[in-house]
Amino acid sequence: MTGTYRRPLRAAAGLVLMSVCVANAQSPPRSEYEIKAAYLFTFAKFVEWPARSARDDASFTVCVLGADPFGAVLDTTLAGALIRGRKVEGRRIAALDAATGCHIVFIGASEERRTDTIIPSLTASGALTVSDMPRFAERGGMIQFVTAANRVRFEINLASARQAGLTMSSELLRVASAVRNGSGPAE
């Protein structure tokens, strides 16, 4: 049996990363918010933000608006992570005013009543809006976590993302459980 080996990576880095990965995978089943925190971070890879002076582009900011369901899990997930070469910063904000500079805003269930005002405001500021509250996408939110058969999935409202000037990768759309192109029922 012959083998051909190609494209060596930076060997040491690859090894380290892989061992980290394997270690994570072998840990006991992750909690719902562990998974969601990981997804939140992963979305950043498949979404492009327009360059805008208003945002501090020195770091990548993930904000949690309202009651924080993640707790320490989010900080653990984001610690040391890089998005497009930038450090990732996790921030908890209580009010919409503090959302300036946020790339991704997770809207906690506590804000459900104010959602209809929050969404347009965040969309206008060019932030990616994510929540797990019901009918979030239908109401103009960009990504809504849905949990079915013990699996965490998500719906995407592509129109809202476009409205915010965000570009979503087709790969992301492919794994979405539903993609809507505006308000109303999903396609």
């Binding site: 080996y5 494209r7 990576l9 690859g14 990363l17 995978a25 997804y39 990768s169």
Partner: protein
Amino acid sequence: MSTLHGTISRRLTWMNMLVSSIALLIAGVAFAAYDLATLRAEIVRNLSIEAQMVGSHSVTALLFNDATAAEETLAALRASPAVIRAQVFTPDGHLFAAYSRDGSPALPPPRIPGGLTEMSEFDASSVYVARLVVSDGRPVGIVRIRADLREMYDRLAHFALIVVTVLLVSLAGALLVSRVSQRAISTPLAAVAAVARQVTQEKDYAVRAPHVETPYELAVLVDSFNAMLLEIQQRDRSLQEAQAQLEARVRERTDELHATNNELEAFSYSVSHDLRAPLRHVTGFATLLDQHAGPSLDDQGRRYLTTITDAAARMAKLIDDLLAFSRMGRASVSKRRVDLSQLVREARDEVSADLNGRRIAWTIDELPAVDADPALLRPVLVNLLSNAVKYTSTRDHARIEVGTETRASELVFFVRDNGVGFDMAYAHKLFGVFQRLHRADEFTGTGIGLANVRRIIQRHGGRTWAEGAVDAGATFYFSLPTQGAAA
């Protein structure tokens, strides 16, 4: 003709075919090896591209744990007929999604050595490519694809078919080329060989091998061969001419010699014959004078008369011998079977008649029968025996031995005596006319006897010679050809 032709052309054909076959086989194997290596690299490259595509489309599926999306991605491999199985693993080796064309068994997770993103493996029927799926520098999964090598084997079979076809075509070409080269090389060679055979078998130097222009070596060979033939032909012709000239000259000389000889014999015959008449007068009148005046003559007168009578008698004998010798030259030889013993006995009796009481010890061997003219052979024997008797007359115990020796193609007859012998220095003169080695008053004789012997033996195709030493006896030999070895 056909054998040489066949051998050379067959050799050329075989050589052509062998060379082209070897060249083609080597080229074919080299090309096949190169093609196989290229093809394997190409197959691996194509599979690598597929794995890369599957991997990049599986990133989100892996990251967002969507096996269905990954399976949809894998299903796109249906477009590649060679791919029989593809699987996506999580980085820790758990099966995430799978695709199978024909229900082939699941593959175990690959073990990609650290530092590599891809590896490929071959077994007899398949090639396996495994590739890390990387997102943002982190491995998020592994894609493993198995493809069968039917394409490669098909291509190899095609290649083999092409090589065999080309081989057959070029062998046919080689056959054709050898036909042409046969015309250029073996045909002139065969012609030279045929001419050479004709020359050796029929001694015909007039034939020539057909001239050729190319190839150069053959042209030289043919031309040199022809030049050699021309040379031989010319020498042969001049040799024949010289021989013919020589024969003509010999014939001419022989004719002249014959004429002269005949003249000489006729002359000596007539001289001898004409001498007899006056001699008869001398003898007759000497006798008459003796009768008429014998009693009145004194002793001296009678001595003179006796001398005259003796001399005349000796001369008459001489003339008779000369005439006999002369006749011998012309007499024809009529051979028949002759009992040599009988002839020798008669000759001995003849020569023993006037021995005056001498005692001679004869030793006569058993003698064979020979082919000869008895009328001619008889005087030979008488002459030789009387010589032996004559030259042993001074011996108290005369011994004469007669015998024969059989040699390759002749019978040698000899007469040996213990007489006065002769000096071997004069042996060559013994058989000449009027050649005498002893004074006449010592031993009587005319000097014609041995000349006559030689002549008769020569007429029989034989030879004469003698051995001897002064006072130590002599042996006279003659030979007669046996079994018709000579005329």
